[in-house]
Symmetry: C2
DNA sequence: CATCTGTTTGGCAATATAGCCAAGCAGATT
DNA sequence: AATCTGCTTGGCTATATTGCCAAACAGATG
């Protein structure tokens, strides 16, 4: 058996963190500038507790960092290279033929 | 609200397809050569029905293609750029400081 | 200190996911 | 046709995820 489960579990955990519409949106927003929880909440229209939990998932995965200033918590993308990955997803969406190559 | 839910749902669906240890392993294996279901099953040690369902998830997401030859079904990576994405995940794992840049 | 804003946490219900087994289907082979 | 191998599908249980509400907590401000 060639399958090193732990190796792939670690990586899958990180990928899973961005495998949700709201969290994916946050990753893109937080790539350009930092936002506090309330601002992000207004953007997506979910309950603030839901947003807080999504941000915790991203933080735990090492994708974003938080910075508490006053009574606000600002989140920011920690690993900008995640964006390149997202370009790759566009390739999957746009490719029509089999075994297509894409921009990234 | 700036959040275009459908746009992100489509992309999250694709990412979710590779956000599982076994499927991530398959993506890497199938990038180098095609394998049939039985071969992949032997590699991971799960029930063949479980493996078949994982492959269906990858296929539905447009990440792999299948090719039936005789009574075997061969799977192959359809969008090799997915591999670049995985390099990015290594960056997340290895980065210690905040807002790190990585290779990709 | 009381209160207001901003955030997190706990708990719950609804839904989705992952694994196995059993059964079904499709080509091969005899 | 019977059977064998290879794969998929259906069904089930266990677990994980996602959303909300309510409550708790932390700084700010009055």
């Amino acid at each position: 058996m060639l399958y090193a489960e732990k190796h792939y579990t670690v990586r899958a955990h990180i990928i899973k963190a961005i495998a949700h519409p709201v969290r994916l949106f946050f990753v893109e927003k937080l790539a350009h500038q930092e936002y506090c929880v309330r601002e992000l909440t207004e953007m997506v229209g979910f309950d603030i507790s839901t947003v807080s939990k999504h941000l915790r998932v991203l933080k735990h995965a090492g994708i974003v960092v938080d910075d508490k200033r006053g009574n606000q918590v600002f989140y920011q993308l920690r690993t900008p290279c995640i964006l390149n990955f997202l370009g790759c997803i566009e390739g999957v969406i746009n490719s029509e033929t089999s075994t297509t190559t894409c921009a990234c």
